[in-house]
Symmetry: C2
DNA sequence: AAGTGGTCTAGACCACTGT
DNA sequence: CAGTGGTCTAGACCACTTC
């Protein structure tokens, strides 16, 4: 019967244009390719994709809802920038959300997930032992991301996972953040090891404490890397 | 000069149809008029407003982003319901966000705002003294809302304020929540008085503690009002 | 006055549903 | 296989900006 093919071949999903456009713009912004302050119009993007403006509008509205783009009346769309004060606020919100995620994760993480974490941490150790300092930062970025993935997924609260990543993305796209990350290089995996150990011991408060210190350090380094302009944001982090 | 009128009369803002439609649907959902599980199609709403489907689509997409509506492929739009487990999760997220807001507010609330709070609390006291128990719940709803408004605004973190209200709305639309509120009648203003006093003393931890207890009580009452079906959500609240 | 942005309309087209 | 939902197109229209 000819239904065989139809049923076994993976469904060729039709991806709406707005999705493609959304992902493209989002990727451009998060990669830092489209920097904060850059203006673009719906028509411009529509032309780029050889489509009409409706799907572009919808993609941009979604980005607006996520806080990555601002729609200025009669000006166009602008890649949204964050003031130092807003960055401090986002750090605080991240602390609140990620602490909660870690509390859940302490209770719910599986032995398999703990093994994965250990594997990632050991991998990093051998990498560090090589003393091959050529773009070390780049090389550590991937295991750090994988670790975080396991970590936050372990909380088993879909809504919370989504909120956590959304707020991390708001900050990660900044050039300054890459400086912060490279300055925190070693420390980042010390923290992750502490979290891992706390998970082993099922010690919620220890895990949270490690993570909060990590965020605190990250904020402090960002503050120091950002010069006097950012000083007024110091008191905005709680 | 004829620019006088043009410059002094408030600008007659053109409100996009999608805004009107969005606000209408949102209000219908939050008021409980459109209950969870109800299906509706874009075309249906377009007809209701005598417009085309495009603005309706955009309004519905916004509601989807906020989690009030789900778009089921080839079925239509459905008013999204929350499982007991999801409700527990939202309570936890609320605790994280609202605690942070209260921490900020403790530091930043102005004497004027404290006066407003006191006025609201005193108003409630005289209301309670009357012992006029006719739909007392209804009458206390408004001052409670006003108090919360002052409270959360005092944190001065726009993003946080928006997140707090968004998550409160996710729960408030449920019928069960009204039962919870009426069962908590007296206790609600006891809590608010505690928060107010903590603000006077600039005691952050006391304010947070009061609020967290309040949320905890609210969750417990909801659990008890919701029968056996909700029991599995007990361990989901952190 | 010309140009651009923002919104909406009307309708085409295809995929999927259900009888 | 008719019906409905989901998406996109092409273009109209008006408000605002800019020259």
């Amino acid at each position: 019967m000819e239904t065989f093919l139809k049923n076994t071949v993976p469904v060729m999903e039709f991806k709406p244009f707005r999705e493609t456009i959304y992902e493209y713009l989002r990727q451009q912004i998060l990669s830092g390719n489209l920097r904060a302050g850059i203006l673009f119009s719906d028509g411009e993007i529509a032309e780029l994709f050889k489509t009409s403006r409706t799907p572009v509008r919808e993609a941009v509205q979604k980005l607006e809802a996520e806080g990555l783009v601002e729609r200025l009346p009669m000006k166009g769309n602008i890649v949204k920038g964050l003031s130092p004060v807003e960055i401090a606020h986002i750090y605080s919100i991240r602390k609140a959300l990620e602490s909660l995620a870690i509390r859940y994760a302490t209770l719910r993480i599986t032995p398999e997930e703990l093994d994965t974490m250990k594997a990632i941490l050991d991998g990093v150790d051998t990498l560090l032992a090589l003393e091959d300092t050529d773009n070390l930062a780049e090389k550590l970025l991937q295991p750090a991301g994988e670790f975080n993935n396991v970590l936050f997924n372990a909380c088993r609260v879909p809504k919370l996972i989504q909120m956590v990543w959304q707020h991390r993305e708001l900050l990660d796209r900044y050039r300054t953040m890459r400086i912060v990350i490279s300055k925190q290089l070693g420390e980042r995996f010390v923290t992750r090891r502490r979290v891992y150990r706390a998970f082993l011991e099922k010690d919620m408060e220890k895990a949270v404490a490690a993570w909060e210190e990590h965020l605190e350090t990250s904020f402090r380094i960002w503050l120091e890397s950002s010069g006097l302009d950012a000083e007024k944001a110091r008191g905005e982090y709680l």
